[in-house]
Amino acid sequence: MPAWLFTFVAVLAVLGALGVILQRNPVHSLLALVLVLSLIAVLFIALGAVALGFLQAIVYVGAIMVLFLFVIWLLNLETEPREGGRLLVKLAAAVLAAMLAAELAALAWRAAPGGAAAAGALHQGANYGSMAALAKVLMGEYLLAFEVTSVLLLAAVVGAVALARKDPGAGPQSSTPGRLEPPLR
């Protein structure tokens, strides 16, 4: 990937990220986040991790962000007034932000000298970044973690459905209005 292309996409992604936190309308923030996630997918693809890049686009941009949109609509979020907020919250946020900045700086400082060599070492074999290579790692080395994660997600889905039901005591007959089927004849 040429340096100018990386710079261009990276700068756009950072601008998008700024948009996420600076927009006051939640839908605009969400769109900025969609932009950031798409650009990260582009970066993945351009760096050779093609399968991962497309998966990023499918999972985050195509599914999760659409659900976010639903959440915004269902909660009926309005444009947020610019409030002061509590001092303690502000202080905690500042500390956390400083910690994150320090972490990023440390990473950048440690990665800087051998950056190119490290990136070269990542390119192992001809089918690096392909679906087959990704699948071998997921279904081999990390099989247990992969399967446990899917069970965890399933549990989360079941839990969400249980929480979302209006009246847990009532049977399914009384809580589903979609049962109003017209008589057959």
């Binding site: 839908v27 769109l31 997918a41 195509g62």
Partner: protein
Amino acid sequence: MSSELVIGAVKAIVVLLLVLNLTALLLWFERKGSALMQDRVGANRAAILGVGRRLGLPNLGLVNTLVADSLKLFTKEDFVPAGADRFLHALAPFLALFPVLVTFAVVPLGDVIRLGGRTVELQAAPLNAAVLYLLATLGLGVYGVALGGWASNNRWALLGGIRASAQMLSYEIAMGLGILSMVMTYGTLDLQAMCRAQGGVWLGWLPRWGIFIQPLAFVLLLVAGIAESKRVPFDLPEGESELVAGYFTEYSGGKQAVFMFTDFAEVVLVAVLLTLFFFGGWQVPYLYSDGFHLPGGFLLALPQAAVALLGVVAFFVKTLVFCCFQLLVRWVMPRMRYDQLMRLGWKGLLPLGLINVVATACVVVLAGGVG
């Protein structure tokens, strides 16, 4: 290097123009076909210049649909309702159209052709993760519709947008499962390789097309595809009798035309996908790289260029058949209710898709298909 670039650009432009023109023709077919089938007064006799009548044909009305209609749409006032989000209102139609059009980049229109010692794949972007690309762009299609509904500051439009996004998300799963079983069957994510795998015959006469080994996946993809393109019987997002026009209620002129165009481009896309996965793409039955080998042992030798051309023609014939089929469905089916739609998607297609995927996996493993 630069000639590669030129070939790539030419391929991209040709594919784009083919899709755009086919879409416009479908628009014409929809009007005239419905008029023919339902005896609709007006569309079956309106004819500027009367080209068809002069040739002794039934009334074609090509000028009406292809010239007068588009002129009308693009010269109409572009109305934006008060309180609407002007930026998103303008962006939404293009956000809807763009993912559909870029999807065609990975569609193989034919086998390779040889140009001056150079082998050119008849595919705008020969990508070996084409199926992933396809799923990614299909997933993007929701935004245009959903945001169009939201940005209009109109309750009908918002309801249409919410209906559309819920419907598209639900049926994307069934569609993905159908595509997944085809990926497992062929063992590749490359659409061109899938088409190549569908060449040849079984038992000496049956073309090795996907439909014969995965009929259930075909049904899944067909139904989910029609639902994704939001057409009857799944046109609840724009149901006229309930929501005025759904997510594009507050659109007029050019922007509304873009939404309408998106719908028809999606019809073409679904037809192309069905052709690629289940009907051999550009494969012509009994046609091999050196000519026809008919079941009786009869051989008709053909030059390579003719074979490639026949492949492209076959691809378009199959695509047109499925386009027409989808348009015909519109005039013979009533609209579903929303609970029926959701029940079909989640309780009908999803379990069927899961069963199909598991069954395919078992067969593939038993047949020793995985290396």
